[in-house]
Each structure stands twice: as C-alpha cells, then as structure tokens.
C-alpha cells in the first residue's frame, strides 16, 4: 500500500524540474546556453554530480509503501491490515543496516561494544568486559547510544535536508512571483499594500517567527515515524506533515527577499522596448505579464533557489537543535547533533555520531555552494560579460 507524504511531493517536483532541465538542454535555447556555461568548469560538474547523488537518495527515501500484514488477526477482518510503518525504498535497500541493532555505542568497524558490561563466564564467575557485537564489522561509522547504525541515520538525514533546502523555496515561488509581478506591474495602491505586507513580515526576526509558528502548528499532524490512521487521507496521502509546516514557515520568512527582487525587476521590465512594443500591438496586460514579464524573471527565481538552498540546509540543523525543527522520529542531521551534543565530553570521546552528521551536511552544502555560484555566474548576464 503506497503512502505519499506531502513533503514527498517536493522531492518529486525537484526531480521533475531536474529532468525537465535535462530535456530542455537538448535544444538550442537558453537552457542549453546555461548548461554550456556550467560545463566550462569541471568543478561545477563534480558538484552537480554530488548533488544528483544526494537527490537520488532523497528520491529513494521518498518512495514508500506499507507492507500487508497477513496474520491470523488480519484474516478475520474484512480486508487486509497494513503495517503502520511505511518503509521507503531506501529503508528496504539498507535493511541490513537498519535492522543491525546493537546494545549501545560501538566505534566504527568495531567488533566489540564501546562500554564494558557484566558477562557471565562459563566458570560461573561474573566479569566486566567489552561484549562482542551482534553484527561485528558492518557499522562503518559505529553505532549510537541506543545502538543504531550511524551511517544509516546520516543517510536518512538526506531527505529532510533536501526537502527543507528545496521545499521551502518551492512552496513560496508562486506567491513571490504573483505578488512581486502585480506590485511591480500595476503599481499604485496595490504596490503600496504588497510592499507594506512584506516589509512588516520582514521586520519580524526570522528565527522568532519560525519559533512562534512551530510552537503553534508544529505539534499537529504527522511527526515522523509510524503513520497513524488519522493522518492518512484517501488511504495513501498524508497531507499534514510537521516537515511541511517547517518548509512553509521557512518559506514565509524568506519570501520577502524574492518578492522584493521580482518587484524591482518587473518595474524595470515593464518600461523596456519589447514590452512597450507588445503593448502598442494591443496585447492585454495578462498576456504581457505571462508572455513577456514572467519568463524574464525566471533567472532571479533560479538564482534565489540555489543560493538559499545551502543556508536552509544549515538552518534546519540549528532549528532541530533548538528543538523546533523536525520531529524526533524524523531522521535529520540536526537531531543527530542534538542527541550527540554531550558525547565529546565523555571520557573516551564518542566522535562518530557528530562526525557522521557534520560530514553528511558538509558534503551537501559545499557542492550546493559551488553550484550556486556557478549558476549565478551563468545566469547573470552582467557577470557573464565580465
């Protein structure tokens, strides 16, 4: 039985946008120009490859279904009963790591536990020793306090990071374009009202707006982990997802910058010759906006999208650390850091939890930054001519 979370849609949308871009580059249009610009540097292509791998992991982690439980209990019922756990393709592929549960900490690739415990010897005496692991040698990054595999958890953080990084911007792009364009194009009272709204929103410190919003809405709906029957609509769709609320509020706080940029660009565009020519030929306002203004704003949208991606990923970790990010059941690097925050002060240091989370984050944010710079250079004609 498939389960689709609201946030899964972002991942599908992102992958679809990527696919669309690839198809577009086969022609000779603007997309092909951009790609040619991007391909000039090997570093950019390497960054793009890493990002594609991360996106692939996120996609695998966003395709999920519930297994049918064909037990005797289910047989008595009218219809089949499904497990509350909706495992994703990724969970199933990494099943070996997910189920290899140890008792507590073990260091990377160890064969024994990290802490001593009482063991009953054959002779009947009790001695304290490092107990052997149940699954020695498969934990590339060791295990955490409750014995889960760290590598598996770090990989589970990918989906959350991608969704926050991409989803928060995706969710607000239509609104930013709509309000930015009508403010810039029509001017007057509409412009004043829209400017007032975004100035007011921008005045509230982002992090506090997020805090207030998440305290009020965050506890409703699906929090991660098992899917409760109440959460599911139509048997397959989970519309109310805590991660979704987080994307929404991160979007609202970052909406204002994009809207301001679009408004300014529209102000400029509507006076350009080709728009005036269209007007002289009798094109309606909507037609001009749709055919001449919006397509010429898209570079701003793309630049904002890639530039915000990495800062949103970093923000997710901080928010989860403060306790207003994703739910504790959702795998995320912020949650990993939060649980492991005191481990460096243990007597033999437990470093692999933090290392796993920070490495996962770093190897996503670094390529994202490199790629964002390249995209900005490729799309910004002012920079390109230099």
């Amino acid at each position: 039985m498939p389960i689709i979370l609201a946030t899964d849609l972002f991942v599908y949308l992102l992958v679809a946008a990527g696919a669309y871009f690839v198809v577009k580059t086969r022609g000779a249009g603007q997309a092909a120009d951009v790609l040619r610009e991007l391909r000039k540097r090997r570093l950019t292509m390497a960054a793009l490859t890493v990002l594609a791998i991360y996106a692939g992991v996120a996609l695998m982690d966003s395709v999920r279904w519930r297994d049918a439980l064909d037990s005797d209990v289910a047989a008595g019922n009218n219809g089949r009963i499904y497990s509350p756990e909706a495992l994703s393709l990724l969970d199933r592929a990494l099943g070996g790591l997910r189920l290899a549960q140890e008792k507590t900490y073990s260091s990377p690739l160890a064969s024994r536990l990290f802490t001593k415990e009482n063991a009953l010897l054959a002779s009947g005496e009790v001695r304290r020793e490092y107990a052997p692991l149940k699954y020695p040698g498969i934990h590339l990054l060791g295990t955490d306090k409750v014995g889960s595999d760290v590598l598996y958890m770090a990989v589970k953080g990918v989906r959350t990071a991608i969704i926050i990084g991409a989803g928060a911007t995706i969710i607000i792009i239509p609104f930013a374009i709509f309000f930015g364009v009508i403010a810039g194009y029509f001017g007057g009272v509409i412009d004043d009202v829209i400017q007032y709204v975004y100035t007011t929103l921008a005045s509230i410190p982002g992090v506090l707006l997020i805090v207030a919003f998440m305290l009020l809405f965050g506890n409703r709906g699906y929090q991660g982990g098992s899917v409760a029957p109440d959460d599911v609509v139509l048997g397959v769709f989970v519309p109310n997802d805590r991660l979704m609320w987080l994307c929404l509020i991160l979007g609202i706080t970052s909406w204002t910058d994009l809207c301001r940029l679009i408004r300014g660009e529209t102000l400029k565009l509507r006076e350009l010759e080709y728009v005036q020519a269209a007007r002289a030929l009798g094109a309606g306002k909507l037609r001009i906006i749709y055919a001449h203004v919006v397509p010429n704003l898209m570079h701003l949208v793309v630049i904002t999208f890639v530039l915000q991606f990495s800062s949103l990923v970093l923000a997710e970790a901080v928010l989860s650390y403060i306790g207003i990010g994703v739910g504790p059941q959702t795998g995320s690097w912020g949650n990993m850091i939060n649980t492991a925050r005191l481990e460096l002060s243990r007597a033999p240091v437990v470093w692999w939890n933090l290392a796993g989370a920070f490495a996962g984050m770093f190897f996503l944010v670094l390529p994202a930054n490199v790629f964002a710079d390249a995209v900005r250079d490729a799309l910004d004609p002012r920079l390109r001519n230099r």
Binding site: Y196, T199, T200, L201, A202, S203, I204, P205, V207, L208, L209, V211, A212, F213, L215, L216, F217, S310, L314, A317, V318, Y321, I322, G323, I324, G334, I337, R341, L344, S345, V349, L354, F358, M361, F362, V365, L366, A368, N369, V370, D373
Partner: protein
C-alpha cells in the same frame, strides 16, 4: 535632514502597528488563551475551572479584540489585545506567564551580557574580514586570492554548530585554554568571553570575507580607479586612498544595519556558552513555552530591525554625497 528623519520615523509607525497586530493574531487568535492555559497546566486532566482560573490570574480572561460587554472606550481597552499587546508599543512588556517575572526588567538586565559577547564578535570579525578582503583585493588573481576564496567557500559550508562544538572541544577541553562555558560579572567575565568571541569570528568569516572581497573588487573595477592608475599612482595608493574610501559606503551601511541586533545577541552562542543574555532568555522561553516572553522578544526584535533600517537610510545620506535628500 530633520524633515527626512521625521518622515522616515513616521513611515515606521504603520509597520510597528502591523507587527503588533500580527503577533497578537498569532498568539491570541491562532493559539487561544485556552490552549496556553492547557499547555501551562499540563495537557491532561485539566478542569475548565483551572483553565479559567489561570486565565484570570494571567489576565487572559477578556475578549480578544472587542469587548461587547463594556461600553465607551472600555469596549476596546478591556480586551486581551489592549491589555497584553498594545502596551508593547510603549515598551511595557508585562510579566511572564510561567514565573511571573517582570519581562522589561529582565530584558534590561540581560542586555549587558548579550552586548558583552556580540560587540567583540562584531568588531573583531569586521576588522579581520576587511583586512583579509583588502589583502585579497591587492593581490587579486594570485594563488593566495584563489586559496582564500576556496577556503571561505569551504568555511561557509560548515555548520555553526560544528564551529561551536569543535571549538569547545579543542580549545576548551583538549588544550584547556579557556573555560568551556559560563559567565561572571564585570571584568571577571573576560576569560569566559574569549572562546565565544573566537568561535563567533571564525564561524562568520567565510561569508564576510567573500562579501567584502566582492565589494572591494567591484570598486576596483571602476573608471576613477583606472584614472588613478593612469596618473601613475602606485597600486597601494590606489587601493587604500581611492578604492577603500569609496568601498566604505557599502561596508558602513552593512555595519549600521547590524548594530541594533547586537542587543539581541545570538541564540546559539548564548545557549552553548551559558551566557545569561537575551538569546538564552528567548531559548528558555521557547523550551518552557512561555508565550508572553516569546511575544515580547518577537516584538523587540522587530523594533530593532526597523531601527536598523532607519539608521541605514540615514547613514546613506550622511556618507554618500551622491544621495540627496528628496
């Protein structure tokens, strides 16, 4: 000039009112006083009486915006909005929901530790970043320039949490140079402040160096710089006498906009280093779900932001002779 400042201040009034209304709507309408009472008293087994009692004690037992039970001006003054949110306009923050402490007094007390951390971070960061950025502008295109740019992209990609945790571990625990966290009053606070300041400067360095480098390079590409070079001036004179002075305009405005936020401190720094400032005050309020405090801090933050914007506009007119007051 004066009329400009006055007009700029008048523009701020509707925005401040808007922020106040928005926070009131968020905290009183979407999250009703009943919800608040239930959170405070524990989610389960709360009687209606207990909720009413809590609301009466904390002054949330009035209607939200319009009190139809009263007459005259009391219709608007005897409401939750007027009693709880409007006083923020004249900086009366009221009392917290959980411990009944005076929020305004708490803010005044906690302001100083916040400033003690944020001012050194800000000043040291600014000096280091501008110094490095100027060196890069001087030797632009060299191996050093490339190396530092790459390094700053790498530094930008590392989470602030990493800088804090790694810094506490290396400098505090392994080398035992500074106490890991804590705070003291007066001059004794110095030894507690070094570590957060060092970490704060390092964690913002990647972004800062890149920003200032772009500013300087943009300035160095202008026509008057070419003229100065054509006159036969040395590269150092061109950079420091001509370039730097003009690049200071964007730098200064960037500085001015962040000054009000120094009061606010940093949420993360203060919690990690146990500094009793406004940031940790906010975090504590978040974790104990004390909405009166969160509301006050949201409002205070907005005011500081608006003040920053006004200062920026004024500083533009002061420092940039090209901008004349209209």
């Amino acid at each position: 000039m004066l009329t400009y400042i006055i007009r700029r201040l008048l523009y701020a009034i509707p925005i401040i009112l808007g922020v106040n209304m928005l926070t009131a709507a968020l905290f009183f309408q979407i999250n009703t006083p009943d919800d608040m009472a239930r959170r405070m008293l524990g989610e389960k087994n709360v009687t209606v009486d207990a909720i009413e009692n809590w609301k009466r004690e904390h002054g949330y037992d009035r209607p939200a915006f319009v009190n139809t039970g009263a007459s005259g001006t009391a219709m608007f003054t005897q409401t939750v909005f007027f009693q709880k949110s409007a006083p923020l306009l004249w900086f009366d923050f009221g009392r917290s929901d959980r411990n009944n402490i005076n929020i305004g007094l708490e803010i005044r007390n906690r302001m100083w530790p916040s400033l003690a951390v944020s001012i050194p971070i800000f000043m040291a960061g600014l000096i280091v970043e501008i110094f490095i950025a100027m060196m890069l502008a001087y030797w632009r295109g060299s191996v050093l320039d490339l190396a530092v740019v790459v390094l700053s992209v790498v530094m930008m990609s590392v989470s602030t949490l990493f800088y804090i945790i790694a810094g506490q571990f290396m400098l505090g625990k392994v080398f035992k140079l500074f106490p890991i966290s804590g705070y003291d009053t007066g001059i004794y606070s110095f030894k507690f402040l070094v570590l957060p300041v060092v970490i704060g400067v390092i964690s913002s360095m990647g972004v800062g160096v890149r920003f200032y480098r772009t500013v300087f390079l943009e300035e160095m590409g202008r026509d008057y710089i070419r003229t100065a070079r054509a006159k036969g001036l040395s590269e150092g004179t061109v950079l420091f006498k001509h370039g730097l002075r003009n690049a200071m305009i964007p730098v200064l405005t960037n500085v001015v906009v962040s000054i009000p936020f120094l009061f606010y401190g940093s949420l993360l720094m203060e919690t990690f280093f146990a500094i009793p400032g406004l940031g940790s005050f906010t975090i504590d309020a978040i974790q104990s779900q004390d909405f009166a405090v969160v509301r006050s801090m949201v409002y205070l933050g907005s005011i500081l932001y608006i003040v920053g914007l006004i200062l920026t506009d004024i500083s533009y007119t002061l420092f940039d002779p090209r901008i004349r007051l209209g």
